[in-house]
């Protein structure tokens, strides 16, 4: 089954980003387990893929490269980056929502004459068309709201 995931809340201000992370992890684990365990229960006998995870509204803050939680707290920002690297996930941050809220990559920084940028390279900036396309190409869109 092909999933896409929509994240609408920021880390800390909402549980959306953490719950979405756990859901994505579980979907990808189920897939992974499947290839190694033929005796898996009938309920798990499906291969899952995640077509895309789209970050919209305050969800865009998950893609910050500069956030640094205290060392004794879980680093959700880093966790998303690691999950992306491990599974080569397509993590897309809505460009309109992000630029107005202050999350930009090096390209947007140039375009807006900013000397700095703050988006993780594990995410890519793109338009809402990527969410519409994800909906068209996935069996389910799972939304994690504020």
């Amino acid at each position: 089954m092909i999933f896409s995931v929509l994240v609408l809340g920021a880390p800390y201000s909402s549980g959306a980003s953490y719950s979405a992370y756990r859901f994505a992890q579980a979907a990808l684990d189920a897939d992974h387990n499947e290839s190694h365990n033929k005796n898996h229960s009938a309920n798990h006998n499906e291969c899952h893929t995640i077509h895309r995870i789209f970050f919209y509204q305050d969800g865009i803050h998950s893609s910050s490269q500069l956030a640094t939680p205290p060392q004794d707290e879980f680093n959700l920002y880093q966790a998303w980056q690691d999950l992306q690297s491990t599974y080569d996930l397509d993590l897309v941050t809505c460009i309109a929502a992000a630029v107005r809220r202050g999350v930009i990559d090096s390209g947007e920084a140039k375009r807006h004459n900013k000397l700095q940028h703050n988006m993780s390279t594990n995410f890519s900036l793109s338009g809402l068309g990527q969410l519409v396309e994800a909906n068209a190409l996935s069996d389910r869109v799972i939304t994690f709201g504020r």
Binding site: L6, Y56, Q57, A96, A97, G127, L128, G129, L131, V132, E133, N135, A136, V141, T143, G145
Partner: protein, 124 residues
């Protein structure tokens, strides 16, 4: 109501008042993107979302864009009908919505059908 499953019909639900936060604006952005990709799309206004349809909005003095004007442009983008929860209007004592909007009042049963006919629901 669009009901072609291959097209994965989308329902966008507006339940937030305009201007107090970004929900109304960012919902509209998604509606425009959906219609640009020619997706089957229904839009429902319920709860505080019906405040988006009040006439005479004039947000110049809070330095915001007029969201009502942007809603009026939806038919140009192929969104022919805006579904409005009759009960939400009644509860709020709202009797007058903007007359230039292509509004269809819906009851509880019709709202439930909108949800069930959609493949994906986005709520703002």
């Amino acid at each position: 109501m669009p009901n072609d499953n291959k097209q994965k019909p989308i329902l966008i639900v507006n339940q937030s008042a305009p201007y107090g936060n970004a929900n109304a604006k960012e919902s509209l952005d998604l509606a425009l993107a959906s219609s640009a990709f020619e997706q089957a799309l229904s839009i429902l206004f319920t709860g505080d979302g019906i405040y988006q349809l009040l006439p005479k909005q004039s947000p110049d003095d809070i330095q915001s864009k007029n969201l009502l004007q942007m809603l009026k442009a939806l038919p140009i983008y192929g969104v022919e009908q805006l579904y409005v929860d009759q009960q939400s209007l009644t509860e709020r004592g709202i009797t007058e919505l903007d007359t230039q909007l292509p509004i269809v009042l819906v009851n509880s049963v019709e709202i439930s059908r909108l949800y069930h006919d959609a493949q994906t629901v986005f709520r703002f």
